[in-house]
Amino acid sequence: MLEIKNLHVKLEEEDKQILKGVDLSVEAGKVHAIMGPNGSGKSTLSYVLSGRDGYEVTEGSATLGDQDLLDLEPEERAAAGLFLAFQYPVEIPGVGNMTFLRTAVNAQRKARGEEEMNATDFLKLVRARAKELKIDAEMLKRPVNVGFSGGEKKRNEVLQMAMLEPKMCILDETDSGLDVDAMKLVADGVNALRSEGRGFLVITHYQRLLDHIKPDVVHIMADGRIIKSGGPELALEVENNGYADILNEVV
C-alpha cells in the first residue's frame, strides 16, 4: 500500500542530506515499526510523507496505492488516506475540538466527492468514538489540544484517526511523554483500528510501545537508511543490547 523507493531528502534551508535512500513497503493490514537512534531520520520520514514544508526530495518516490504522494498537497495526501499522528500535537487556541474534527472529516469527504456528514450523525459518531478512548465531552468542547495533558493530546490524535478512517497511519513517537497507563490507553485505541485494509507505520525509540502495538515487521533506521529489517524479535534485540551492535554489524 505504502511504497517508498530510494527516497533521498535534504533540508531545504541548509544543504544537509537527512534521508539517503530509504526503501520501505507497508502492506495493507500490516504494522511496520521503525526504530532507530536520535537523528537517524525517522521523524523526517514522517514529515516528508505527510507533506510538511522545509524538506526537498532529491531522489526517489513515495506512493500510496496508485497515488504519488510527493505530488500532492498535505490536505490531498490526507484525503488520499494518509494520516500522521504527531509527536507533538499542535495547540490551536480559538478553534473548538469538535469544529476541528467536523471540518476535517467533511473536508476529506468533499475532496473524495462524498456527501458531507450532517451535524447529528457526526455528533453521534464522535461521541461513540470518544467514549472508547475515554475522552470526555468536556475535551471535545475545548480548543484543540489547549491545556490537554500529554496523554490527552495523544488520545486526541487517535480520536482523529478513528474519525478520519485513513488507509495508512503513521505514528510518530506516539509513546513519547506518556506514562504506562496512558500508553496502554493509546495503544488500545490504535489496536482497535487495526484492520485488513489499513496499514500502520509506527515510529518509536523504544520497544515498550511495541509490547502494546505488536508489529509484523521491524526496521532499524540509521543515518538516513533502513539498515536492517526483521520480525518483532529485532525490537527485543535493540531493547536488550541497544543500537550499537546492529550498527557495528552493518558497517
Partner: protein
C-alpha cells in the same frame, strides 16, 4: 505657512460649509463646542495623537467620494427582533424606521428637541464630550457637537424587550453626515444598542453615554463594508457605581476609520469593556484610539482589539489606561494584536499605562504575527485545504475580541459574516 496658521486656515475652511443650528439649549452647547473647536483647531498630520493616521481627508471641506457598495448579502442583524431606526446619509428616514415607542425607553430625535428649553439631554449633550477633551484634544468630536444635524436622545428607564437598532444607510457618493447621540441609562436599567452600516461617504458620529449606578449598556456595532467610506467616531462614557458598559465593534473594509472611545469609571465597582475586531484588505486604514480613566475603587476595564490585515492594510491601536490616585483595586487589562497575512501590511501600536494608585492590577500586551505555520500544517495534514485552514485560524485569532459580545446569537451572526467575508476573499 506656520503650523498654527495652517491649522487655523484648514479649520476655517472646513467650518465655512457648515451651519450652526440656532434656538433653545442646544445653541448654547453648540456655540460652546464651536469655540472650543476653534481653540484647538482640527488635527494636523504632525499632531502626536494623529501620527499614525492622516487626518487630512477628514478635515478637508469637500467630501472625498465613496461609491455605494452594492451587494446581495443578507444585512447584518437581519432576523433579530429589534427596534429599527434608519438614517440615510445621516438623514432620519421615518418610513423605513419603526415607531420609536418601546416600553422601558424613550427615544427622541435631536432635530425635534434641540430647541426645547427643558430637556434631560441638555445636561449631557456636549458635556461628556467636553470632559473628554482633556488631557487630549478630540477636535472632530467638538465639531460634531457644534454641527450635528441629527441624532437620537435615548433615555433607558427600564429593560426594553428588544435591542434598539440604528441602521446607517449610505446612498450618495459624496454624503457628509454628522450624527450625535446621547444615551442615558437609569439606575437598574439595561439596554442593548446595535449599529450597522456605512452611514455616508464621510461620517462623523459622536455618542455620549451616561450610565447611572447599576445600569447596564451593551453596544454592538458593525461598521459598513463600503470600500471607500471614511469615518471618525467618538464614544464618551461616564459610568456610575456597579454599572456596566460593554462595547464591541466589527470593522471590515472602509478606506479610513478612526474609532475613539473615552471612558470614565467614576463609581466604585463599575465595569467597562471596549473591544473590536477588524479585517482589512488592501487600501484600508483602521485606527482604534481608547482612553480609559479609573477614578473609583474596584473597577474593571478591558480593552481587547484584534486586527487581521493583508494586501497593504494598516491597523493602528492607541490605548491608554489611566488609574487616578485613590482608584485602588483597579483591574485593568489591555490587549491589542494583529495578524499580518503578508509582508505588505502593518500594525502600529501605542499601548500606555499611567498609574497613580498603589494597589492595582494592570496588564497590557501588544503583538504582531503571521499565521502559525505549525497549526496550519496540522490542519492541512487532517485534510483541511490551505485556504480553509487559514480562514479557520483567522477566525480563531479574532475569537477573544468577538467573545466580548455577551449575546451569543449576535456573536454568531457576526462570526457568520466574518466567515463569509473570509471565504469570499480567499
Amino acid at each position: 505657512m506656520a503650523l498654527a496658521e495652517r491649522r487655523i486656515t484648514a479649520t476655517e475652511a472646513r467650518l465655512e460649509g457648515l451651519q450652526l443650528v440656532k434656538g433653545g439649549w442646544s445653541s448654547a452647547a453648540r456655540s460652546d463646542a464651536l469655540q472650543r473647536l476653534r481653540q484647538m483647531g482640527l488635527p494636523e498630520r504632525r499632531d502626536e495623537y494623529w501620527k499614525f493616521t492622516r487626518p487630512d481627508t477628514l478635515v478637508q471641506p469637500e467630501t472625498p467620494k465613496a461609491s455605494v457598495f452594492d451587494n446581495d448579502e443578507r444585512p447584518i442583524f437581519d432576523g433579530f427582533d429589534r427596534l429599527r431606526i434608519v438614517f440615510v446619509d445621516g438623514v432620519f428616514d421615518a418610513e423605513a424606521s419603526d415607531d420609536l415607542s418601546l416600553e422601558g425607553v424613550s427615544i427622541e430625535r435631536l432635530a425635534d428637541i434641540a430647541d426645547k428649553d427643558i430637556h434631560w439631554a441638555k445636561d449631557l449633550y456636549g458635556v461628556l464630550e467636553a470632559r473628554g477633551q482633556s488631557p487630549v484634544a478630540r477636535p472632530f468630536a467638538a465639531l460634531n457637537t457644534a454641527f450635528a444635524t441629527d441624532g437620537l436622545m435615548i433615555h433607558v428607564t427600564g429593560k426594553p424587550s428588544k435591542p434598539i437598532s440604528l441602521i446607517y444607510t449610505h446612498a450618495k457618493d459624496d454624503s457628509d453626515a454628522i450624527l450625535h447621540h446621547v444615551i442615558r441609562v437609569d439606575a437598574g436599567a439595561e439596554a442593548t444598542i446595535l449599529e450597522n452600516g456605512p452611514a455616508a461617504a464621510r461620517f462623523n458620529k459622536c455618542m455620549e453615554i451616561d450610565v447611572a449606578d447599576t445600569g447596564k449598556l451593551h453596544l454592538v456595532r458593525a461598521q459598513g463594508r463600503d470600500h471607500e467610506r471614511r469615518a471618525v467616531t467618538h464614544l464618551f462614557a461616564r459610568l456610575g457605581e456597579e454599572s456596566t458598559l460593554k462595547a464591541f465593534t466589527l470593522t471590515v473594509n472602509g478606506v479610513l476609520t478612526r474609532n475613539e472611545a473615552v471612558v470614565e469609571l467614576t463609581g466604585d465597582d463599575a465595569i467597562a469593556h471596549i473591544a473590536g475586531a477588524c479585517v482589512g484588505d488592501g487600501d484600508f486604514h483602521h485606527d482604534d484610539t481608547v482612553f480609559i480613566t479609573h477614578d473609583a475603587v474596584n473597577c474593571e476595564s478591558r480593552q481587547v482589539f484584534k486586527k487581521v490585515l493583508r494586501n497593504g492594510a494598516t491597523g493602528v491601536f492607541q490605548g491608554k489606561i489611566l488609574v487616578k490616585e485613590g482608584a485602588q483595586k483597579t483591574d485593568g487589562y489591555q490587549i491589542s494584536q494583529s495578524l499580518l497575512l503578508d509582508d505588505d501590511s502593518q500594525f502600529l501600536a501605542k499601548p500606555e499605562l499611567e498609574i497613580y494608585a498603589d494597589d492595582v492590577a494592570c496588564s497590557h500586551g501588544s503583538t504582531s504575527g503571521a499565521i502559525d505555520e505549525d497549526a496550519l500544517f496540522y490542519l492541512r495534514s487532517r485534510g483541511v485545504p490551505e485556504k480553509a485552514a487559514t480562514n479557520l485560524l483567522t477566525l480563531a485569532f479574532l475569537a477573544e475580541a468577538v467573545q466580548e459580545i455577551e449575546d451569543e446569537a449576535l456573536a454568531e451572526d457576526l462570526i457568520e459574516r466574518l466567515e463569509n467575508w473570509l471565504a469570499r476573499r480567499s
